[in-house]
Each structure stands twice: as C-alpha cells, then as structure tokens.
Symmetry: C2
Subunit: 209 residues, 2 copies
C-alpha cells in the first residue's frame, strides 16, 4: 500500500519549546498527521536511537510510519519504516542497499536536474525542498515556488512532498500545484496546540483533494 | 588473525593544519601505523562517506584496517573493516548485529564498571579512554592513569588500546601497564613529519614488547 504523505511532520526539538518531543508528536498524530520524520542534527547517536525508539512507541500503534532523517544506522537499529535523505546525506543507492526494498526512502530534490537523475531510481517520494523560503532550514537551494512545483509534477511520476514555508494558508495551493502531501516543521512543532494545528492542515489538504 | 593494535591512529582533520587527511594518513601508514580510525564530528554524511572511501584506497593496499568512529552506516556504505563506538554512540549490540561477526568493533570504556559490563560481549578491543588528560577530546571521564590501566588489565581479557595524552615519551609505560597498543591523535596528525612520528611511536611500542 502506498504510504499516505498528505500531512507529514518533520520534527524539530528546539521548536517544541519546553515540551517533550513525544508529547508534541502524540498530539500531532492525534490531530491527523499521516507520517513522521525524526530529524536530529545535534543529538549524539545514543540519544538519537532512544528518541527514535520512544517515537516508535507513539506512532506505530496508530499505524503512522516513522522515517529517520539521514541516519541509516539509527533507522536500522530501531526498525523504523524508512529514512529521508538529502543531497549531502548518504547516497541513495547505499541507503536502499542497506535498508532493503520494503523501506520507505525519500530524497530531497532541490532542482529539476536532481529530480531527473533520481526519477529512474526506486525512490519512494521526492521531498520538494524548499517550496517557499523558510527560516527553519537555511542550507537549501532556491525555492521551487508553485510554478516550479508544477514543472516538477509534469516531469516526475514520484509522489511529491512539499516542504518549506508551508502551513494551512498555502497547503491547498501546494496540493493543487501537484504535491501529494505537505511536510511541516514549525507549523506543528511551534504551534500552541499541535492537535488543532495538525487537524487544520489535514482539513486544508482534504479541501484540495 | 588478531588485528595489530600497537600504533593506532585516530584522525582529526583540523589538527592536520593545511594538509590533506589522505596525505597525513599515507605518511602515518608509511611510518608504521597498524590501524586507522576515521573520526569526523562535523562532516555531513556524504563527505564522511567520501573521506572513508578515499582512506580505504590509502590503507587497504598495505593491509592496515580502517575503522569508522560511531557511524555504522558509513562503515557499511564503504565496506570498512569495522567501527569504534563510545558510550554515547550506537549501542554495541546493535552495531554488532548490523556489521556481523567479522567486523572489528572497539568500545570506549571510561570506568571499570563499563569494562565489566562489556567483558562478556564479543567486543574486539577496549579503548581505554582517556589514559591521561588531553586537550583533543574534552567530553571524557576521569583519566585512568597507569594504575587504573593496570587494574583494568587484571580485570579484562580484551585487547586494550590506550588513548589520551599518549606519545613517544609515555608509550612504553602504557604498554608495560598492560595496553596492547596506543591510540594517538595529535602525536601524528599534529606532527610536522607524520612518517617520523609514526616510526618513533612504533619503536617505543617495540621497546616495551
């Protein structure tokens, strides 16, 4: 069964403020998030593994897949559902070889050229990064914009998950431009009420379907 | 065949100054280093993989094993000889499960308690960390000292590789206290002449045998 990419949460512990990541993710899942990616850029490996194990206990009972950002070893250690890799992360072919054909593996594409190269690979989805400029992640290429997303939609048969500057106000536009889902960081991690924030995103995505 | 831990280089690119890591490692191997560990705390995964591949081309032709610090996925991607894990890295059992029984896996031990716990595992060697206080690595426990090393030698049957503040002046003492080898960072990476530095360490180790 093809995974449901429609409302895709990428975690950011600092953005959760004082709240535990588990709590925020549990609320996000309750609100309707369909996929979670654990992204940790500063944790040591032990902590990363422990966070991933804790998140699995939150998302697995409700059937929401957990992907790990970049770290194939962490994904393998905990038995996560897959990984998301960027252009400076583990090469896609190595990630697939290590994780096997059943794993969900997403790849960030920052240009049509990168998407064309990866189109022939068995990547499960493309992370379209960034759709709009964002303060959360600064090591990215130029934004795709809605027009760039439309071009990519015509060029690729892969599921497309938009990320970067997305929220309830533009989710519908992004879906109509060809995305299969929207990935958010601050729109949920930074929300006062993650349940409500996730539910609002879910409604916005549904409205475009 | 049991690996030769006698002069064990742990890499540190900043300490190499302007020199390429490959060049310093090639010289160290020429001087008599018997094992190399690639340690990278700031590289992205892609760069880490590329550095590991480049180092393998240097050390494999001369039969010197290459271990990767912490990152099981990097070791798997490049087919390195093994990994070295610390107490905050990937749990040992997970590392062994992923890498298989043939891989060389070393574990840092910072106390007798940690060594006793790991004694029953099939760890290939213990990194005795730190033997003396050092400026290279600051997130470590209290130094073992020579007396602590002697105690550990009596408590463990594992090969022991001392690390921390080691160089030609104290290598012989560390070997006589029970170590099977000495691991160095700055004594080679920071040396004007890595060939000579490695050769001097090799002589010091031989003198104690």
């Amino acid at each position: 069964m093809r995974p449901d990419y429609s409302v895709y949460l990428v975690t950011d512990r600092p953005l959760c403020g004082g709240r535990a990541l588990m709590e925020v993710v549990a609320q996000a899942v309750q609100g309707g998030v369909t996929m979670v990616q654990l992204r940790e850029k500063h944790a040591d490996t032990r902590e990363f593994v422990e966070l991933a194990q804790a998140l699995l206990r939150v998302v697995r009972p409700v059937g929401v897949p957990l992907l790990i950002n970049d770290r194939i070893d962490v994904a393998m250690a905990v038995g996560a559902d897959g990984v998301h890799v960027g252009q400076r992360d583990m090469p896609y072919a190595d990630a697939r070889r290590m994780l096997g054909s059943e794993a969900i593996i997403g790849l960030s594409v920052e240009s049509l050229e990168q998407a064309r190269e990866a189109e022939q690979w068995d990547v499960d989805y493309f992370g379209v990064s960034p759709v709009f400029a964002t303060g959360t992640k600064t090591d990215t290429g130029d934004p795709w914009g809605l027009e760039g997303l439309r071009c990519l939609r015509r060029a690729s048969t892969k599921p497309l998950v938009g990320i970067g500057g997305l929220g309830p106000s533009n989710a519908e536009d992004v879906l109509r431009a060809g995305a299969d889902g929207i990935a958010v960081v601050s729109a949920i991690c930074g929300a006062c009420d993650p349940v409500a924030a996730a539910a609002e995103l879910r409604r916005a995505v549904s409205a475009a379907s």
